[in-house]
């Protein structure tokens, strides 16, 4: 059983909407798929929307952090959107601050933010 997370392209941005609970394998293949797609599309920004996700543990947090750093290396900015209050609280209590991560309330705000950052 292997699930793939769909990655959509909108202008020069990629949109990833994670719709269900991430198992470790899906998280890893998502990382690979996203980098591959960045390479083939030369997109300059990525919005990862986590609205439906109801928890993030240290493993998934690490994968996310890695994805953001790797994308940065490939010249793309990442904005994470839709982190739920319960998820934010557990992340903080886990001691995971995702310090240099850009965030926004939802997908629309995230895209706006990305546009501003890419212009500026």
């Amino acid at each position: 059983m292997k699930m793939r997370i769909p990655i959509l392209k909108l202008k020069d941005c990629l949109i990833v909407s994670i719709q269900w609970e991430l198992d470790d394998q899906t998280a890893i293949s998502f990382q690979e798929d996203l980098l591959e797609k960045l390479h083939t599309t030369s997109a300059r920004g990525v919005v990862i929307d986590l609205t439906p996700i109801d928890f993030i543990d240290s493993f998934i947090a690490k994968v996310l952090g890695d994805v953001i750093n790797m994308s940065g290396l490939m010249g793309a900015k990442v904005v994470i959107t839709g982190i739920q209050p319960a998820v934010a609280i557990t992340l903080i209590e886990l001691g995971i601050r995702l310090e240099n991560v850009s965030t926004a309330l939802d997908l629309e705000n995230g895209l706006e933010k990305l546009e501003r950052e890419l212009e500026g």
Partner: protein, 132 residues
């Protein structure tokens, strides 16, 4: 008393364990934030079993103490044990290139937390969240 448990052998069992935990937490009446805390703690404990020991078990049961209701999570394995528990509980300590956030995180996410471990025999971690 309700006891449910999941054996942890493959990566998929981690998903099964946290689903069980989430359902039990809902049943006991925990709110969304505590549900997330419990699910996350279970995920950390189950992944540690998967990563560091061959095989183990996550048991979840409802407990009461006086007027208090709570959910007890027991993660047990017959793996190598943890030689330096104090270090394993430090933020950032990892032997696997992880974030080292798991064990200290579980301690913060839950209300009660206890580790019993014997090198060469295994580890048993009990953690309880109380309903307020």
């Amino acid at each position: 008393m309700n006891i449910d448990s999941v054996d942890i052998v493959t990566e998929w069992d981690i998903v099964a364990a946290r689903q069980l935990g989430r359902n039990e937490a809902k049943k006991v009446g925990f709110g969304t934030v505590d549900q997330a805390r419990i699910t996350t703690a279970i995920s950390e404990l189950a992944r540690n079993i998967y990563l560091y020991t061959g095989k183990g078990n996550i048991a979840i049961k409802e407990v009461t103490e006086g007027n208090l209701k709570g959910l007890l999570v027991i993660a047990s394995d017959e793996g190598p044990g943890i030689a330096d528990v104090r270090r394993a509980l430090e933020d950032g300590f990892t032997t696997s290139g992880g974030l080292g956030a798991g064990l200290p995180g579980v301690k913060r996410l839950m209300d009660d937390f206890k580790i019993e471990t014997v090198v060469g025999e295994g580890t048993k971690i009990s953690a309880t969240k109380w309903l307020r």
